[in-house]
């Protein structure tokens, strides 16, 4: 899709960061915010409040249908970061009496890594699992890390940088057989890949609307409707959302979230076919350049993301040379840390390949023309940077 910027048209291939809201989502949100909209507090018992309540429950039901669960299992939050915090800290605190050991992966999103790191600083023992070179967690690795006092395992479904899809059925099954809670950060997969939580052994699952053409600022935490799945709240102040997330619901955001979930459910198969076509075309257009590397196993990766690295190219310069292509870099050279992608390094990529990584991610409105533009830009950028670089052995 093409975006107007100050200077020129930009091509947006950064849908793993956020997606543009679907026009139907925008319309639904406007209907709530506009004259005669449902502004009332859904906790109020008067007629306007009841109307809002019906709308919010309609949205909750749409999200529940997308996940094939009961609506009572859905707790609205501000997004996946909050959901991750609530799930991880809430579960750790709730179950602290019977054990404190926690397990996660080194390739998780910062919203999970930093949450576990915070608990670790407070004295919770945390095991940080490394993936195989293809990004997948070997179930044997997890099994070896489990302890008598392990209370929670958190593994993301789709990696936000590489698109690697973890086998959450196997991971969750192993956890359930040991009576350990399993949390899954599904920010990159909910609304994009089929998630049947009636079948999958997942106890807690984080999702967010803006990754699948819903609005920013709203997400949800799924809690399995089982007696042993309890978490402690992080915030206090009211009885909303099963006393786990107090505060007045943002009606327009919740409504947009529900609409996005309905659309995602209806269009998922079509969307996935579209992403596969785009992914294949892009990789075909790049793979014949010398020194190209695909990060993550394409056989098991989510097709909405393609992550590539190139020999002898500096990441920050590559990102600039790709303008006006909107993509994400494996380099954090603009930040003060100067670190390359910790995800790729955990997968065994060396620093030079990790820092040159570029993540292309596709959306519903991405066109074949966008992919062809990206191929052309990338090839030109690589040519430009290699032309001014010293010989590799210098």
């Amino acid at each position: 899709m093409t975006l107007r910027t100050d200077s020129e048209d930009a091509v947006y291939l950064d849908h793993a960061a956020t997606t543009p809201p679907d026009p139907e989502v925008v319309a639904a949100m406007q209907s709530v915010l506009g004259p005669g909209g449902s502004f009332a507090n859904p906790s109020s018992i008067h007629v306007a409040g009841r109307r809002s309540r019906a709308l919010s429950e309609h949205a909750r039901a749409a999200i529940a249908r997308m996940l094939n669960v009961d609506p009572v299992c859905i707790v609205f939050t501000s997004g996946a970061t909050e959901s991750n915090n609530l799930a991880i800290i809430g579960a750790a605190r709730q179950r602290a009496h019977s054990g404190r050991h926690l397990i996660t992966m080194r390739t998780e999103h910062k919203a999970v890594i930093d949450t576990f790191a915070a608990l670790e600083r407070e004295g919770w023992p945390v095991t940080w699992l490394a993936p195989e070179p293809d990004g997948l967690l070997a179930t044997g690795t997890l099994e070896a890390a489990l302890r008598e006092d392990t209370q929670l395992v958190s593994v993301m479904h789709v990696n936000n940088e590489t698109g690697v899809v973890q086998d959450i059925a196997a991971i969750g099954g192993l956890c359930r057989s040991r009576g350990i809670l399993f949390h899954c950060d599904a920010a990159q997969s909910a609304g994009k890949l089929p998630l049947d939580l009636a079948e999958l052994p997942v106890d807690l699952l984080s999702l967010t609307a803006h990754k699948f053409h819903g609005p920013q600022g709203v997400g949800a935490l799924y809690l399995a409707d089982r007696p042993d799945v309890h978490i402690a709240p992080l915030m206090h102040g009211g009885g909303q959302e099963r006393r786990l997330r107090p505060g007045t619901l943002a009606m327009h955001q919740v409504t947009g979230f529900g609409t996005a979930a309905t659309l995602a459910r209806e269009r998922m198969h079509e969307d996935l076919t579209h992403y596969r076509r785009l992914n294949d075309r892009l990789w075909r257009g790049l793979s014949n350049l010398p020194g190209m590397h695909r990060n993550g196993n394409p056989a098991t990766a989510f097709p909405g993301i393609l992550n590539v690295s190139a020999d002898d190219v500096e990441g920050e310069s590559l990102l600039l040379a790709l303008e006006p292509l909107c993509v994400a870099s494996g380099s954090a050279c603009n930040s003060q840390t100067g670190e390359s992608s910790y995800v790729l390094r955990a997968m065994g990529r060396d620093d030079r390949l990790a820092q040159s990584a570029i993540r292309f991610s596709f959306g519903r409105a991405t066109l074949i023309d966008d992919i062809d533009f990206a191929i052309d830009r990338y090839r030109r950028a690589i040519g430009h940077l290699r032309a001014i670089a010293p010989p590799a052995a210098a």
């Binding site: 910027t5 040379a321 001014i388 010293p390």
Partner: protein
């Protein structure tokens, strides 16, 4: 902020069209070469200069690094070209260079790689005259 928004116009211009990138365009009586790298960022700089023994007639660079370093190398070569060999002002002042390109202070180490490469180049002038970058690539 978009990537382009993180750089000032001179950096963007030099990055897009680094006129002094590459190898010397002809042979010179005295050719010299210096290279340096920074392990933290992985950046590398190669400078080559051709002179008649008195004046730097042509100065070129090759860089593996961020846009600020590419732009700084371009400015360095522009500055040095035409200056007297051995003159103190043959090299630009790093602080002024960084200020003019609005280089973030955390990138100081990378820009100093240019200084290291220049010093290495100067050392080769006496030691290895008539050798430089024609056959680099």
């Amino acid at each position: 902020m978009s990537p382009a928004g993180a750089y000032n116009p001179r950096v963007l211009a030099h990055f897009a069209t680094p006129a002094h990138a590459g190898d010397l365009s002809q042979r010179y009586p005295v050719e010299s070469k210096g290279e340096a790298r920074e392990s933290a960022s992985g950046c590398r700089v190669v400078l080559v200069a051709g002179s008649d023994g008195r004046v730097f007639r042509e100065v070129r660079f090759r860089v593996f690094g961020c846009p600020h370093l590419v732009a700084a190398a371009e400015e360095w070569c522009r500055h040095a070209q035409g200056r007297c060999v051995g003159a103190k002002d043959a090299r630009p002042a790093v602080a002024e260079l960084m200020a003019s390109l609005e280089v973030p202070v955390e990138k100081t180490g990378r820009i100093l790689v240019l200084e290291d490469a220049w010093q290495a180049l100067l050392k080769t002038i006496d030691r290895e005259p008539n050798r430089a970058g024609h056959d680099q690539r």
